[in-house]
């Protein structure tokens, strides 16, 4: 089935089997490998992308369901060679250790800060509760999001 969609503002299309998961289309067909596959069981959130502005787990959506949608992946954060304040924040505050959960953390935080630009620490912890960091580096992840919120204010 032909899937046409927009990713990070660019048009893409691919002919895929209905059972192909969206994350596999992103990584294996379109070669956008920034989005990670973690648990593959809808728990960890490493595969989080934005679909029509909402963060969702791309391992739990079929690619055919994304026909006509606007997607944003971690590759869309950097603009004109300049990192997004969230990416800067994760660097400055050491918000990543192994880096595996980072693309998902970034995308969830990106959507969250659009909705809540001045969040409390509790708000941030609530927002990222569907993203797991197996290094358990949550303290610095929260600081990284706070760093970005301050930069963007």
């Amino acid at each position: 089935m032909l899937v046409k969609l927009s990713i990070n503002g660019e048009q893409y299309e691919a002919d895929v089997e209905p059972r192909l998961l969206l994350v596999h289309m992103l990584r294996d067909v379109l070669r956008l490998t920034g989005t990670h596959i973690g648990c593959d069981t809808t728990h960890c959130g490493a595969c989080t992308i934005l679909m029509d502005g909402r963060p969702v787990k791309s391992c739990t959506i079929f690619a055919v369901q994304a026909r006509g949608k606007q997607l944003m992946t971690v590759e869309g954060l950097e603009q004109d060679g300049k990192l997004h304040p969230l990416q800067e924040g994760f660097m400055a505050e050491h918000g990543l250790q192994c880096g595996y959960c980072t693309p998902g953390m970034l995308m969830t935080s990106f959507a969250f800060l659009k909705k809540n630009p001045r969040p409390s620490e509790d708000d941030i912890r609530w927002a990222i509760s569907g993203n797991l960091c197996r290094c358990t580096g949550y303290v610095n992840i929260v600081k990284a999001v706070q760093h970005a919120a301050a930069q963007m204010a």
């Binding site: 089935m1 089997e17 209905p18 059972r19 998961l21 593959d40 069981t41 809808t42 728990h43 959130g45 989080t48 909402r54 963060p55 969702v56 787990k57 739990t60 959506i61 079929f62 055919v64 369901q65 969830t108 609530w126 927002a127 509760s129 569907g130 993203n131």
Partner: protein
């Protein structure tokens, strides 16, 4: 994990969708939010030959209060319930519930209709809808019918829906003055199913006695459980500590949990007792602030 191959159908009207279901029979499953179905398909616990995706059918989502009901379209996402001002201010039990289903990312796709139609006793809306005395609307090739939620859950992962019917709407009776509710859930971590959870809804009479009471239990039986004896024990009585204690004991007796990694039978029954006590207290407190 790769699901088994299936044929994908994306009808644009309810009529088209129910005609497809009638034709395909038991080989077809309805795809709404997909947050339970797709994981089951990836584990090959479900391998439907056909998926009928209802996400492209207009008019199946939205929240409005009319004709004495809160009418919630079946495709309404949990995050929409969570953010709804009318749900937050007028249906605190439903607001509580929508905040603790799975995790924030799953709630952006998961739907209220799917949560009920899946028939999973571990899901959260069933107990809440039992406590609220809701009804569900189903549409099939022969038209529309309404079912009271109390007779909707017929077995584990089984509901009163026929294979060619689609759940289109959930109707919650608008609460009278002096009504309140609460949902309390114990989970090991965000995103886990409840070890146990309790939904309580009360309406108080002018003299402070319980005029109507609804109590639903999550994940402590083969189906969601309506704790009818506990409800009856409160009716017509002032909800004082002794009355709430007795109702909580009756709710614990109604629970039929099985032992698993989340706890023993005794532990879960006692958890139901404690959660019922706290949910009733909170429901009464909220009813008293909404005159």
């Amino acid at each position: 994990m790769i699901p088994a191959a299936f044929a994908y159908h994306a009808p644009s009207t309810i009529g088209e969708a129910t005609a497809l279901l009638a034709k395909l029979g038991e080989d077809a499953k309805v795809l709404s939010g997909g947050q339970s179905l797709i994981p089951l398909m990836k584990l090959r616990l479900a391998s439907p030959a056909h998926l009928v995706d209802i996400n492209g059918i207009p008019g199946l989502s939205g929240i409005r209060e009319t004709d004495g009901f809160l009418r919630i379209g079946a495709l309404t996402r949990e995050s929409e319930l969570e953010e709804s001002e009318i749900v937050r201010s007028r249906y605190p039990l439903l607001h509580d519930t929508s905040k603790v289903i799975a995790d924030p990312l799953v709630r952006n796709l998961a739907t209220i209709g799917g949560n009920l139609a899946h028939g999973d006793p571990a899901n959260d809306h069933p107990a809440t809808m039992l406590a609220l005395g809701a009804e569900v609307v189903a549409v099939g090739p022969k038209g529309e019918r309404r079912m009271p939620i109390a007779s909707f859950f017929t077995g584990p992962f089984e509901t009163g829906l026929k294979p060619d019917e689609i759940l289109t709407e959930v109707r919650v009776p608008s609460p009278p003055a002096r009504s309140g509710g609460a949902y309390l859930k114990l989970e090991r971590k965000v995103g886990d199913f409840a070890t146990a959870a309790v939904a309580a809804q009360v309406t108080l009479a002018a003299n402070g006695a319980c005029e109507s009471v609804g109590i639903g239990l999550t994940n402590v039986g083969l189906t969601p459980i309506k704790a009818t004896k506990a409800e009856a024990s409160l009716k017509g009585k002032a909800p004082d500590e002794a009355t709430i204690k007795r109702a909580a004991e009756l709710a614990a007796e109604a629970a039929e949990p099985s032992a698993d990694l989340r706890g023993s039978v005794e532990y879960k029954k006692d958890l139901v007792r404690i959660l019922t006590t706290r949910a009733l207290r909170k429901a009464v407190e909220r009813a008293n602030t909404r005159r």
